[in-house]
Amino acid sequence: MSAAATTTPNKFVVGLWDHEEVYLHAIEHIRHKGIEIYDSLTPFPVHGLEDALGYKETRLHTAGFFFGATGTTLALTFMTWVMTTNYPINFGGKPYWPVPSFIPITFELTVLFAAWGMTLTYLVRNKLWPGRVPRIYDKRTTDDRFALVFDAEKISAQEISDIKSLCTKEGAVEVKDKVFAAGE
């Protein structure tokens, strides 16, 4: 979910909350102060989180429409070519171009293309390819903690301590530094 960055930062400040309501309000206040949030991790989908983080609506479904349309076109043209030109056979006394019997296969290919296309796009866009070592900011984000991650690479010590005190003020139960080794 991170914004595309030219170089991936290794040094972070992580704030942890234990309640979604407080967390949502904290995000709003922190963003209001002009502080950039690097990432947000929650144990379950939180209603209104995208809005609070200011995310734009995803374009994944638009991509999905075009993947699906590709599948539709491919299935119809291929079957038409086979049944009319390449290998016309008469089955069950149906016409040589039996469109109704194409529909189920067209439907399946549309779904297949849309599903695979969207899944792969999602994985590539989120850098979730096989063999990737995941960066775990805090293990409890899959259990009961709501985390906000701030990029601490290029900001001063003063700003880091400002962020930390702001998090505590906004109800964070824990604030910590997290540094990853280069390449991790």
């Binding site: 209603h47 734009k56 069950g92 006394g93 149906k94």
Partner: protein
């Protein structure tokens, strides 16, 4: 915050005007189309009553399903969904009355069933149908549906308005009530679709017809809910319902539209592919008449292509104007769909006289059954009848067809849908059948408006009796918080 809908005199007057328009339409079709025992009049009543009954019972189904699934998304519109069911308390019994009048030979809609019942000896493949449609069994089933629907409509409206919903005991009872209705709905909805609509053409069968009707009800009921939510919001009620809730309803509307298409196509393709005469006769009749070809594909365009390209956009589902327009169109589209099922049979029974054996216009079915003496005509069943797609008033004289029908009876009698009517001695040489063509005319539209008015009257009447939003619902807070916006 505990607002109750006020059923103003102004609104009542408007709805009474709508009902008056419907009455005018009924009078119009009754006197302008008296052929065939006023079949067009009765077909109008049946199609509309059945359609709005379906919307009614789907409202209860939606609440039951969401309750059983521990859903919270529907809580703010729960009373609207339940109030849809108010109409069924009357219409369920009207439907029974229609069938009873049909059996009493007041109208001809169910004459295909009566033919089978009067058959002697009973054809081998009709034995179970004779049992299933034995008047006592048939009518008692219909009465049972009507009573069950009315009972649940009353009970659910009463129960889900209780203010002690957070009491664990009451909460558990709500699950039981919902479960009881789901089971009842599953059985009665499917069986009602066979008993009222599928039997209009008694020989035709579709094993997914109950599902198909369910999907139609679904589209219409979600569309109706969306329109009513938008209307109530415009009147200042339901301030807590925002575009996110309408978006949820819109997604269901879109999903049910695709589901409907899936079943429509399944029904068509399996019968097209299998090519069993009992099944394909249904499509030959419909595609053979140019008008019905038009309404069938018209319904498919409105109910499938339109939602697919229009409602798929997120912004369309969230804009009250766009989703309102789409909902109104889909309500009409599904009316057209039921029109295709109900109206063709009255057109078909050109000469049915009650009290006598049926003299049916059978030439098309004979052609479809591929009578060997007319190879030129049978080579391509569908286009052979395109010239039949004429306007009302055309007199059709099909003497040759009747001869063919009489001959065909010996060979294909058990197969052709209408061939059984030709028991009559002297199937040829009789007077030309009076054309009784009924398309979607002014009469149909007026009657539809009238039934819509009656439906809305029942709806608003029920809605005004209790607060619109039931406070203390355990899921109310969750539903109120539904906010999803992107910058």
């Amino acid at each position: 915050m505990n607002e109750t809908f006020e059923f103003t005199d102004k609104l009542k007057k408007q709805l009474f005007i709508m009902m008056g328009i419907g009455l005018l339409g009924l009078v119009m079709v009754f006197f302008l189309h008296p052929h065939n025992s006023h079949a067009r009049f009765w077909a109008n009543i049946l199609a509309n009553t059945y359609y709005f009954t379906g919307i009614s019972i789907f409202g209860m189904f939606a609440v039951s399903a969401a309750t059983l699934a521990y859903g919270g998304w529907h809580v703010l519109v729960k009373r609207i969904l339940l109030s849809l069911a108010a109409f069924v308390r009357v219409s369920g019994f009207v439907l029974v009355l229609i069938v009873v009048l049909g059996l009493l030979n007041v109208h001809t809609l169910y004459d295909h069933v009566k033919e089978i019942l009067h058959e002697s000896p009973v054809a081998e493949n009709h034995t179970t149908k004779v049992i299933f449609f034995a008047p006592a069994f048939w009518i008692s089933r219909l009465v049972a549906y009507a009573f069950l629907w009315a009972l649940f409509s009353w009970a659910m409206n009463k129960f889900f308005a209780r203010t002690d919903q957070t009491d664990p005991k009451v909460y558990k009872q709500s699950k039981l009530l919902a479960a009881a209705f789901i089971v009842t709905f599953a059985v009665t909805e499917s069986a009602a679709s066979w008993d009222y609509i599928m039997c209009l053409d008694t020989h035709w069968y579709s094993t997914l017809f109950g599902w198909y009707n369910f999907a139609s009800y679904g589209c219409a009921a979600w569309a109706m809910t969306i329109l009513l939510v938008i209307y109530l919001k415009s009147k200042g009620y339901l301030s807590r319902v925002n575009e996110n809730h309408v978006h949820d309803l819109g997604k269901l509307l879109f999903g049910f539209s695709i589901f409907w298409t899936y079943l429509w196509f399944d029904q068509f393709m399996l019968q097209w592919f299998a090519n069993i005469p009992e099944e394909t006769s249904f499509w030959v009749k419909r595609f053979g008449e140019g008008y019905f070809k038009f309404t069938i594909f018209g319904a498919l365009i409105i109910n499938f292509l339109f939602p697919l390209f229009f409602l798929i956009k997120r912004s369309a589902k969230r804009s009250f104007k766009m989703i309102g327009f789409g909902s109104a169109l889909l309500i009409f589209g599904h009316y057209v769909d039921f029109f295709n099922y109900v109206f063709i049979e009255p057109n078909w029974n050109h000469e049915l006289q009650h009290g006598h054996h049926a003299k049916l216009q059978t030439e098309k079915v004979v052609l479809y059954a591929q009578h060997e003496e007319h190879p030129a005509a049978v080579s391509d069943a569908t286009p052979a009848h395109e010239n039949k797609a004429e306007v009302a008033g055309e007199v059709k004289h099909e003497g040759a067809g009747h001869e063919a029908a009489t001959e065909a009876h010996g060979e294909h009698g058990a197969v052709g849908a209408e061939a059984h009517g030709e028991h009559v001695a002297g199937g040829h040489g009789h007077e030309a059948p009076v054309s009784n063509f009924a398309g979607i005319g002014v009469g149909e539209l007026l009657v539809f408006i009238g039934f819509l008015g009656a439906f809305l009257f029942a709806f608003f009447n029920n809605l005004s009796k209790r607060p619109i939003i039931v406070e203390n619902d355990p899921y109310l807070k969750e539903n109120e918080k539904l906010v999803v916006t992107y910058s």
